[in-house]
Amino acid sequence: MSAAVPVPAPEAAAPQPRPRPTPRQGLRRRAGRTGRTGRAMQYTALLCYLVFLAFPLLWLVSTAFKSPRELGSVDPTWLPRHPTLGNFRTALDEQPLLHAALNSLLVAGAAALVSVVVAVPAAYAMVRFKGAVSRAGTGWILVSQMFPLVLIIIPLFMVLKNLHLIDSRPGLVVVYVVWTLPFVLWMLQSYVKAVPVSLEEAAAIDGCGRLRTLRSVVLPLLAPGLVATLMFAFVTAWNEFFFALVLLKTPEKQTMSVILTHFTGAEGAADLGPLAAASLLATIPSLVFFALLQKRLVGGMLSGAVKG
């Protein structure tokens, strides 16, 4: 891997291996048996991974804060010598970036909300009602992953055209709802599985109707999972590019991803700064989301993915 990207380690030399690491988990005794050379090799490998994963990110951040003069220099440096916010200002002035962000926010927000609202009852039914319907649903979730978007987008384009929903934000919302549904259903199912059936039975015995049980027993228990799923759907729609590229033609309606590719058309070193700045701005929502929900998201995805 490091062979593919041979870049010198810019920061921090390899940490010294410890002969006997204090075991953080009681069962990790095996670590003590790994020899000194083994440890050294492990840390070298870890360092290679860190470099590979981090250096493009560092470069993006550093480019975003460089002045145009520094960007034009023949011998670029790792860190900007005179950090400046000029690129962010240029990016916001030259392209309708704020407007595009608002478009993205509206489209992704609406799509996430509709998708989750529609998926909650379905996920519930698929978990509690194991039968042909549930199997068909799971089958669809898998099959929907297999078809190339190109095959879907052509007929969708023609359908939406007849409905006059081409080049319109509501049209994109509708497409995103359908597009995020498999993921959303998959995540929600794992959360529904965690709700004990006995609670619902207790509610039924106490005389709760179907809807009342859903509203007062199941939904409150699902709330954390709902928030996680909502944010996941939002980020997925916010990051989406292909559908937005095909369906939105008017610049005023275009979303963040599409507007960003307009920057890339211009070459020239001076434009790289604003491009990097705009890219950083476009990444903020996803980063916030992942920072907030790292553990829960990974846990939710995995309980759905691995244990089935």
């Binding site: 993006l60 007929p155 969708l156 995995l302």
Partner: protein, 318 residues
């Protein structure tokens, strides 16, 4: 109704007896009746905007549908496929797509497996690697593409600069415009972008491997490699299979990354089949022909996956 049924057979000291069979539970919760009602809100958009268009798209592959043409489209049978068979540009793009998907998937798996094994150890700076490994996942495809264009930039890019300082090359390589280097360069980006998901899934698989087995093998004198092949790998194999199959599909169908990096250039050297079909449909307006391409792609993926999964499952049985 459920309350009455539940209270007819009181057991001493046990309170209300729970329903015994799944069917009884469902009946008690009234799910037989309500399942369809609950599924309906999701079912309608899925049928109208996913299943419907998919079937429509498949049927389009057998017509001469074009965009913006007022004359009605007509059924042409397998003519699109006959044309496609002789379209050397498409097959070249198909070959590139396979090279891309196989390379990216294989490298993703190898690198992610290595990283997952490291993260499963009790190392310092593990938290840093864990966090960094998640970042590519969170970034929009377009931003990943832009970021790597900055890295690969021939004059202002950090890659050439670093190579120059290490005296490995003259440092003026134009990575994304070189006929021979563009595809490998794009594959590296694909690996970078797709590694996190694979790592996370494999890490979860690793954490399900019983530590006791490892210890027992260690006491019996098995070295690190032997412990891996006899204990870790068999437990991890199902996870590896499913994530590899999924990765392959995702990679073969990927679009945004390469679109932003090279738009299929130079000279079509990185033109994945998805980009080819996109251009055919939305630049030249050949909807029917592009749909036929999409269908061929699905068919090939399905065949490859069937062969791959069946062979692996057979191995697992023995």
């Amino acid at each position: 109704m459920s309350a009455a049924a539940a209270t007819t057979q009181p057991r001493p000291g046990a309170g209300t007896p729970p329903p015994r069979t799944p069917a009884a539970r469902r009946r008690m919760l009234g799910l037989d009746r309500d399942a369809w009602f609950l599924l309906l809100p999701a079912l309608i958009p899925v049928l109208v905007l996913s299943v419907g268009p998919l079937l429509y798209g498949i049927s389009l592959a057998f017509t001469d549908a074009q965009s913006g043409v007022t004359r009605s489209t007509s059924f042409t049978g397998v003519r699109n496929f006959a044309d496609l068979r002789l379209d050397s540009l498409f097959w070249e793009s198909f070959r590139i797509g396979l090279v891309w998907a196989v390379c990216v998937t294989a490298l993703q798996l190898l690198l992610a497996l290595g990283l997952a094994l490291l993260l499963n150890e009790n190392l310092r700076f593990r938290w840093l690697a864990r966090t960094l490994a998640l970042v590519p996942w969170a970034m929009p495809e377009v931003v990943v593409g832009i970021m790597w264009r900055l890295v690969y930039n021939p004059d202002a890019g950090i890659l050439n600069n670093a190579l120059r300082h290490l005296h490995l090359t003259s440092g003026h390589t134009d990575w994304l415009s070189s006929l021979s280097l563009a595809l490998p360069a794009v594959i590296v980006v694909g690996v970078w972008a797709g590694m996190p998901q694979t790592t996370v899934v494999l890490l979860a698989g690793l954490q399900n491997v019983p530590v006791e087995l490892h210890e027992a093998a260690g006491i019996d004198g098995a070295g690190m490699w032997r412990r891996f092949t006899t204990v870790t790998w068999p437990a991890l194999k199902p996870v590896v299979l499913s994530i590899t199959a999924l990765n392959f599909i995702w990679n073969f169908n990927s679009f945004g990354l390469v679109y932003v990096l090279t738009s299929g250039g130079p000279g079509g050297k990185t033109r994945l089949p998805t980009l080819f079909a996109y251009e055919e449909a939305f630049r030249y307006g050949q909807f029917g022909y592009a749909a036929a391409m999409g269908l061929v792609m699905v068919a090939v993926i399905a065949v490859l996956l069937t062969v791959f999964l069946r062979n692996r499952l057979k191995e697992a049985d023995q």
